[in-house]
Symmetry: C2
Subunit: 541 residues, 2 copies
């Protein structure tokens, strides 16, 4: 891809003529200074709008720094590009222009070609780093997927986390290898024709190491989320908060050459203003997409079955490119497993899978027993390429009390049926790492917080959670190292016995999907799903 | 208008063959009974969905009753049609079919003909009742307005209140005369060709006498409002809550023959589901409108300058018919008065009034200093008949610390200029009672709660409130009878001195508006506003 003109308008920006330019939003502060850990403090100047900034000739790339607010408290940079010592320590000045990108010929993929492989950097390999993923990219090519989706990589507390506890949205996790290694990984993907999707969290921040409130009103108490305070996207001083996260999206797309973002749980992004954050974000990403001549996308995770997210602004929509379709998963899974716990109670009928094939959303205004209310709205005006479907993903495995995969509790023929249902669907398929060879390792929930009270709260919360699947025996301790290590997968398994058989089947399905033109049709008018309910089968034309 | 087939599906419904049918939603209850105050208790039967119902042959019209929940606590009916003894006492069975309506020939008014007169029943006359309004309707005809808008009339605690503390959404205030008198008033309006708009509150309930939570999860703690708990429009068991308020709208339109509802502060109606309460409400009202062949409307008060409310569903809108345009008021008022306190700090420039004339919304994504964020979105795709404009209204007078009207603090020529700016605008004008003859009585904030702590809290809140206007001297005690009595207007003033002059001017302007075809143009393409800023005037073609 081309070098872009975009620059992060805050954080620490090294200048070509030497020194570093700092800019931070701290509307409650009277004075803000930069203190270099190994050196002096430098006062910043106040701008209108609550920003403080200044060019500091003596501060160089690699220097570690903290912001000093009103001469009293010190905090790392909310827009830190790197937290080499973790969330409780100084930020480091990073030169965003120094990485020698080799992907000049890369322009991304058409949306319809996305075939996504979701992976968690920490458990995908023994090493658990960005670099360690690279040697396995040729394997992913062999499998046939076209895009790698990374679970969130923003700096979180400790060395093990799914990523949804991130507190430095701009800093790639230190224990994964930091910003340089992430760039190498993306570059290596692009060199092989693989797109890279990054999971980003714009609905809350993690509970440990979150210092944003010391800088400004990033949060609001007008709304609640299940994970703590809601972000302030529509209250007083919300413009800079919106700007912070909008620039975060642009940062990943431009500075890290990412191809798409997966926006976590957007139904917890509250914005009651006339201009919703997601709509503004999509407009900006699409503007840059056109200007740069490359394919970039915003995928959403959303729980409300609301087609508004996917519709263009001219039809009152937010203009997001696609969304995960949990309804498809639930319809498929409950037919395979007969599970009825948790949100699966709303599923289990054959016609629901047929409806998922026809309309994506199964609940389109129907009463949901689990939710105790009517749920959703039809999205049949949207092309099928706006929906991502899966038989497994990190949540649908990891939120189960045992973290057990389908392969752990289902016979092989059902695994193959699930694979075919997803990979031959008229939607964009997503695989969860290891699924393609029936990996048996669990995917547990794990954390590495340092606050004992917080750890206890997480343990308690997990034990009480009514997850989608309930297993016998004790729930693994989220804070134990072994819980994390047990979740690591072993790609070598694909060569052995039944694993090899499943793997071969996945490869064949993907090859079929790529080869046959019928699988390149995404307009609903051209797709006909005929149900033979008495035989529990259906045909797609 | 024609008799409609619509029936309230809950509450107490007298049967033609005798007795009364009761139905109430109480999903948390095991047993529900009806206790007639002067007689026996009768158990209801449990239905699916948390409703309890039963036909009680011995209960007749006029009987007073309470619901007994699980044999323990007694509460009046959430859907009570009448609370003869106020909010803390029994409900009364009312026969909705007994009133002898005389308005069979009435079919409502086209939206474009609305010229609204907002009045508060309690302070419009000495008596402060629905009936007492009737003798003055000929005066309103003489003035030339086409619609009467009543501030909320749902039963509130005590005998004096603006109406926004209502706790029985279906019961017309007892001290105003209850349901029969309200029907007489509406009938009398229709007999004179006047439409009737009712202000209804679907964003919260009042703080005293609110027993809804004893019946079911009407409220949620997911969101906050400035006036207490938010209504549960999207959480578990929200369908019956939506149904309760949707039926409330239909109740007023059908059982009371009302022509339009003014939905109070809809920006505090939280519904994050794929199908917003307002969209569902508008769809149902419009369905009935077509089926019944009469003109009914939903007006909204909304603070977010969001055209989504007014757009049709096909364009992603909620499909409401019109909304109050506070921006127009603020632009006009600040030019007249030079006020800069509170939200007036965002206004005061001549071009803003020109923009209000051109676009209705002045803030269309611009930064608002008062709100400390960008605000609003353009609504220029909407016809001008979707906006209600005013130089005064109950809030813009009553929320001032002194409750002083424009006539109290501005010279006559400015009053006349304000009148012309509103009445000759391409929008739907609204007058606040007394404005038309420069009434000098204040419109104070008043309450008549019985809980001393609550009274103290209201006093304190009012004293601390940063209202739009600040006056010298002490703030009148909201709980004092004199504060209420001082707010009563005296229509006889219109015959005297300067009052008569102002009144004549209003009549002329209204006559002009009705006579000249140019004032019947509401499509923006046909309206051109030319600004001569240096002369501080503009022309509308």
């Amino acid at each position: 891809m081309k070098t872009t003109q975009w620059q992060l308008p805050f954080g620490a920006t090294p200048r070509e003529d030497g020194g570093t330019f700092f800019r931070v939003w701290a509307p409650r502060a009277e004075h803000v200074a930069v203190r270099v850990v190994t050196g002096k403090s430098y006062p910043l100047e106040s701008e209108v709008g609550g920003y403080f900034s200044g060019h500091l000739p003596e501060v160089a790339v690699g220097d570690r720094y903290l912001y000093v607010i009103d001469g009293a408290a010190e905090f790392p940079d909310p827009a830190s590009r790197f937290q080499p010592m973790g969330v409780h320590d100084a930020s480091q000045v990073v030169d965003p222009g120094v990485y020698p990108w080799q992907d000049q010929q890369w322009h991304g993929l058409p949306l319809e070609e996305y075939l996504i492989y979701e992976l968690h950097v920490g458990t995908f390999t023994t090493e658990g780093t960005f670099s360690a993923v690279i040697p396995h990219l040729d394997y992913l090519l062999e499998l046939g997927v076209t895009a790698v989706e990374l679970m969130p990589v923003s700096q979180y507390p400790g060395a093990r986390n799914w990523g949804y506890d991130g507190v430095f949205p701009f800093a790639p996790q230190n224990s994964y290898g930091g910003p340089d290694e992430l760039k190498q990984l993306v570059d290596a993907c692009h060199a092989r024709g693989l797109a890279v999707v990054l999971d980003v969290v714009y609905n809350h921040l993690g509970p440990e190491g979150n210092h944003l409130s010391s800088f400004g009103p990033y949060f609001t108490d007008r709304y609640k989320t299940p994970w703590g305070a809601a972000l302030n996207f529509d209250g007083p001083d919300s413009d800079p908060v919106k700007e912070f996260f909008r620039q975060n999206a642009l940062y990943w797309l431009n500075e890290f050459h990412l191809d798409a973002l997966r926006l976590d749980a957007v139904d917890w992004i509250y914005d009651m203003s006339a201009s919703h954050f997601l709509q503004e974000l999509a407009a900006e990403v699409h503007r840059q997409r056109v200007a740069q001549g490359r394919w970039t996308y915003l995928f959403a995770e959303n729980d409300t079955n609301d087609p508004r997210l996917l519709r263009p602004p001219a039809l009152g929509g937010y203009g997001l490119d696609a969304q995960w379709c949990d309804n498809f998963h639930h319809a498929l899974r409950t037919l395979l497993t007969r599970e009825t716990t948790g949100y699966y109670e709303d599923f289990g009928r054959f016609e629901q899978l047929v409806k998922a094939y026809r309309e994506a959303f199964v609940y389109t205004g129907d009463y949901s027993r689990y939710r105790r209310k009517r749920h959703g709205s039809p999205a049949t005006d949207r092309p099928t390429s706006q929906f991502v479907v899966f038989a497994q993903n990190h949540d649908q495995v990891g939120n189960r009390t045992c973290g057990d995969r389908l392969s752990e509790n289902q016979p092989m023929e059902k695994l193959l049926l699930a694979a075919a249902t997803v990979l031959l669907s008229p939607y964009l398929p997503l695989l969860f790492m290891g699924e393609e060879y029936a990996e048996r390792a669990p995917f547990h929930y794990f954390i590495d917080h340092s606050d004992p009270e917080l750890i206890e709260a997480v343990r308690k919360g997990k034990a009480e959670e009514h997850a989608s699947g309930i297993c016998e025996g004790a729930i693994p301790d989220p804070a134990a190292l072994s819980t994390y290590l047990d979740s690591k997968i072993n790609l070598e398994l694909r060569r052995e016995g039944e694993h090899a058989l499943v793997y071969g089947f996945y490869r064949q399905l993907i090859e079929l999907r790529k080869r046959i033109p019928a699988f390149k049709v995404f307009t609903r008018e051209e797709i006909e799903v005929t149900s033979f309910a008495e035989k529990r089968c259906f045909a797609v034309f």
